[in-house]
């Protein structure tokens, strides 16, 4: 059996007098994991602990089965890290920056140069690769940070607020890149973000942290699958019997307001059956949504 990507066993981390992480227990095996939580929840501390920057005060944390206490160096060889804040050398051209990252991760000089070109082209900075990082826009700096994180072909990519400060176009490009890397299947990805939409669009699993504790774990793939059975309907011209007709099909149904129905489709009942029923009863369907709890609902519930 393969090791989990990240395994936390009663992990506690204390910085100064404050306990930041309070007994985290978790086992993540998914391809992409979202780390959510308000400011001060402990997301960055967890990432820094996984990278070996902080030592656990109690408990253990393992990455691919390697203990962060004793095998931090080995773990860092398997990880690509894109920090949240500015992380570059202003006077250095992007190609040199990414190449140096690759060489520090152990690639020979010629392979590092080749991979640096590839990584910069991949993130869309091919034409700007000889320009100095200090002159890059915020979006370009984010992409350069991504390039240095993936240049050595890590097994685990940790992205800390990858869409921070990006304009909508650049955000879409970043999300697309993360989705592409997920689809390639060569690496596991941990996305740490305040933006629930980013996590929802890119991740299979989400972990919500609050005050140093895990308050919710959600398998978004399963949620998405179950959401496909949950339908919100708005009708016009319904005399109040449409909901009853849906119930007769065997589906649980609730009328939330006049003309507004929520229903869970049972096995064997498809959406076309609802259309057919509406046509038979001469009811107009004004809106039909597959929607259960969004990640936002889950997050807000978890935050209490």
């Amino acid at each position: 059996m393969t090791h989990p990507v990240i395994e936390l066993d009663n992990l506690r981390v204390r910085l100064g007098k404050r306990e930041i992480l309070r007994g985290l227990n978790l086992e993540l095996r998914g391809r992409t994991v979202g780390l959510l939580g308000p400011n001060g929840a402990g997301k960055s501390t967890l990432i820094n602990t996984l990278l070996g920057f902080w030592k656990p005060s109690a408990g253990t944390a393992r990455v691919f089965g390697h203990d962060v206490r004793s095998e931090a160096r080995r773990i860092r060889g398997l990880i690509g890290y894109m920090p949240e804040n500015d992380c570059f050398i202003a006077g250095m051209p992007a190609i040199t920056f990414v190449r140096m990252g690759a060489e520090l991760s152990g690639l020979p000089a010629d392979a590092a140069l080749e991979r640096a070109h590839e990584a910069l082209f991949y993130v869309g900075l091919g034409e700007a690769r000889y320009r100095k990082l200090g002159g890059f826009s915020l979006g370009m700096k984010q992409m350069a940070k991504l390039a240095q994180a993936i240049v050595h072909g890590p097994k685990l990519l940790i992205l800390d607020e990858p869409t921070n400060g990006l304009d909508p176009q650049a955000r879409v490009r970043m999300i697309r890149l993360i989705s592409e890397m997920r689809a390639l299947g060569t690496m596991h990805i941990v996305v740490c973000s305040h933006l629930l939409r980013d996590i929802e669009e890119t991740c299979e699993e989400a972990v919500i942290l609050k005050a140093g504790q895990i308050v919710h774990y959600s398998n978004l793939e399963e949620e998405r699958a179950s959401n496909r059975r949950f339908v919100e309907i708005e009708t016009e011209g319904d005399d109040g019997t449409f909901a009853e007709a849906i119930e007769l099909l065997g589906c649980a149904c609730a009328v939330t307001a006049p003309g507004k129905i929520k229903t869970v489709l049972t096995e064997g009942i498809e959406i076309r059956d609802i259309y057919r029923l509406a046509a038979d009863r001469d009811v107009q369907l004004r809106r039909l949504n597959y929607r259960r709890d969004s990640l936002e609902d889950i997050f807000l519930k978890a935050m209490g």
């Binding site: 500015d86 202003a90 990252g101 152990g106 020979p108 072909g153």
Partner: protein, 286 residues
């Protein structure tokens, strides 16, 4: 130019030896440092004295040539005093070099938050400091320790084994004082670079550590009527150490060689603490 397809693939080739990976930092830092032509010219000038000294050593033992100007071979005595002057001159240049190069080593990384970039890779903080320090170390060694030992080797080859055996203490003195000078300057350069963002100020502080120490030391000596102030004077400590080790101490030397060496080592420890405190990926909260 090669055209790269926009795709991503993992790397599965061989990796370099982790033990020597810190040298990558040194290589890239060297490239950045030598972009300055001013530094390049200055560095080249640092070899003026060693080159002249090599020629002089050769001429000093060239009987045929000296006979033409009616001088005898070995007319100039090469001894501890000569190497003391050599080390002090080159040491002064090494301080200037440190003031110029040191501030550009760590400050740009801290200024742009690049520490996570380095330390999220299989590279420890000690290796980061070692890699950056190697830049200064190799520059300083190349103008102090290496040419001094080279001069000693040249003189030994010209004078024969007896001179070598009788003056072996010179090599020991050069080695110990040269290594201590390197350690102090490397750590001072890195510490100033880590704590002071402004390059000019950091460079001035490197020079100030030598000048201010001398001033403070003199004030303490005058006010307290003691010799304790000498322990704050880096320049004096090096002179005392080198003078003693090269068997050429100043008359009525108030600081013994061992005390000078221990004081310099303690100073190195203090600088290491300063560097260690500043070179952290994240600030400790609470």
């Amino acid at each position: 130019m090669a055209v790269y397809k926009r795709t991503y693939q993992g790397y599965s080739g061989p990796l370099t030896n982790p033990m020597w990976r810190f040298l990558v930092l040194q290589r890239f830092a060297f490239k950045s440092v030598f972009r300055s032509r001013f530094l390049l010219v200055g560095y080249a000038l640092c070899f003026f004295f060693p080159l002249i000294a090599i020629c002089f050593f050769y001429l000093n033992q060239n009987a045929a040539l000296l006979a033409q100007v009616r001088l005898q071979a070995g007319f100039f005595r090469i001894d501890g005093r000569y190497f003391l002057v050599f080390l002090q001159t080159q040491g002064g240049l090494a301080i200037l070099l440190t003031a110029f190069v040191g501030p550009s080593l760590v400050a740009p990384d801290l200024g742009n938050g690049a520490l996570p970039f380095y330390l999220s890779r299989p590279l420890s903080r000690a290796e980061y400091i070692l890699g950056k320090g190697m830049v200064l170390g190799s520059l300083i060694a190349s103008i102090t320790l290496v040419p001094a030992l080279l001069l000693f080797a040249i003189q030994s080859s010209l004078m024969g084994f007896d001179w070598f055996r009788n003056n072996l203490y010179l090599a020991g003195g050069i080695l110990v004082s040269g290594l201590l000078l390197m350690a102090v300057l490397i750590l001072l350069g890195l510490a100033m670079s880590a704590w002071v963002r402004w390059r000019v100020v950091a460079g001035a502080l490197v020079l100030g550590a030598f000048v201010a120490g001398k001033g403070f030391g003199a004030v303490i000596n005058a006010v307290m009527r003691s010799t304790a102030g000498y322990y704050l004077d880096l320049q004096y400590l090096f002179t005392a150490l080198e003078g003693n080790m090269l068997h050429n101490p100043a008359p009525a030397e108030p600081v013994p060689a061992l005390a000078a060496a221990l004081t310099l080592l303690a100073f190195c420890g203090l600088l290491l603490l300063l560097i260690n405190r500043k070179l952290r990926v994240c600030e400790v909260a609470g």
